[in-house]
Amino acid sequence: MRALPLVLATLRRLAGSLGLLVGASFIIYMMVRMAPGDVIDAISPMGTPPEMKAQLAAEFGLDRDPVTGYFAWLSRSAVGDFGESLAFSPGESVMAVAVPAFKRTLMLCALTLLAGLALGLGLAVLMGEPGPRQQIFTGPAYVLTAAPSFVVAVLFAQGMNWFIHLFVADGSYEPPIWYPIPIYADSLMPYVFAGFSMLAGDGLFMDWFNTLRAELLSLKQSQFIIAVRAKGARTFGHIVKNLWVPVISSFAARLPLVLGSVVIVEYIFTLDGAGYVLLEASRLRDFPMVVGLSVLFTATVIAVSLAADLVRALVDPREVSRGG
């Protein structure tokens, strides 16, 4: 009998997410319609031939009123057709460029968050209860990690340049393999550096650490763990099982923030992920690309929050009965 409410809650949540996606895409579409002057001139790059403009106008439903135009656009974008790239990668379909780039970005974000989780949890276990002596350490760390991730990334890249100046002999051309700015497409190091900058910036890591430590402490002091301890059993398994739910929640809650900082960090380290493509396309005024990527980013936020809710419901049956 446990399954039925779970299925119902899942369906309800799924419908809600779809509604959100439609609503958010409507906001994005209306932003396009709000372009100043003649919309089609505003959104096409300089020197676009008239037949291209006509095609673009048809793609965005600009020849109709906003509502039917929106549904025309939605019916095509719902099946993944966001039109063709105008300037970033002319002639290719937006999805052909956006999807591989997006995969790289999601990988980077996921690895960053996982590394943050592992480090934060490890540190939280090591540090134990907060005390006045720890504030000497955590206070400055808190201030330093509040730096925006792009500043961390810039300082990091500068430090690297300076470091390499010291260690690379004059006249040698090859940079070391751990150089953060990619020169070879298959190098993994830029991703490691970008992940580090994102983790160290925006207060992300200290946030993780504080949340995890608070959860861990409150669990350790809770009645049932004390009862387990009193019986002489191991508490580790019980703690891990109950730590799941808050970890997933904060994982999902931080992803939008990370999806924001990844845009700029990718640009600084010139990683060809979705953030880099978004900024380049925006610079080149490649509209279909910018709109397509914006929808993809929004869909990711919605999908992750949906997935987090579902996993939470599976892991913790109390969530369902609470009607969450």
Binding site: I27, A35, Q135, G139, P148, V291, T298, V301
Partner: protein, 273 residues
Amino acid sequence: MGGRGTSFALWLSGAVVGIVLLIGIIAPFVGYDPVSDVDYDAQLLGPSWSHLFGTDAQGRDVAIRLLKGTEAFFLPGLLAAAIAVVGGALAGAVAGYLEGFGRTVVLGLLQLIDTLPRLVFIILVCTILNPSITLISGVAGVLFIPAIATVIRRKVEALASEDYILAHVAHGFSPARILIYHILWLQCRPVLIRQATFVFGYVLFVETALSYLGDYGVQEPAPSWGNMVAQTRDLAGQAPWPWLFPAIAIVLTISAFLSFGNLLARRDEEAIR
């Protein structure tokens, strides 16, 4: 919690916040012409008494550009904080107060805004409208309304069943007065302070990030902390001060605003309890 360490941190961050606010207020009255400041005989000078933080690649004084750079985010930041706090408090109070259909509509709208990834949406707005930093910060303020509204709504819902609020209702106080004065002002002040400083810090982040990227935000030759940091791109390793001082200023200001808001709110929360 609390104790001497906390109040020292509060004073320290408060001092930085105060200095930034002071500079933000006096900056518009300082005359500065970035073009006539160019001096090719004084490129990349180190810090000295005549140039406190040195000069940049065009021989412009870094200190005065730092000071004038506050104009780029000061008023926009205040505007965004005001929009987010007023909008969030009202939306949260209304959502907490209403029942049935109206509540569903308000909650749905808030959730809708909340799903838009903030920076991505701001870049989209920039691409379409090529807006001023004031409009960008207005958008940032709106994007923060749901975050504030959620906290306020929970608070309103929790307080609505409290005896003393019921007593106010029984005394015939108007709902507006109970919501605005007794709930928002007396009970939610710490939350609002914390969120306002957070939004201000976020606008500083957005402004510096956009100016750093160069296409939107404040354009050279007008100074902004972001486009000052962007000089790293041309100056690889030659002289650190043109970009190091603005980078330090960004880090210090953002962390000071965040910790000041947090500490002040925590003290206020303890006082309410």
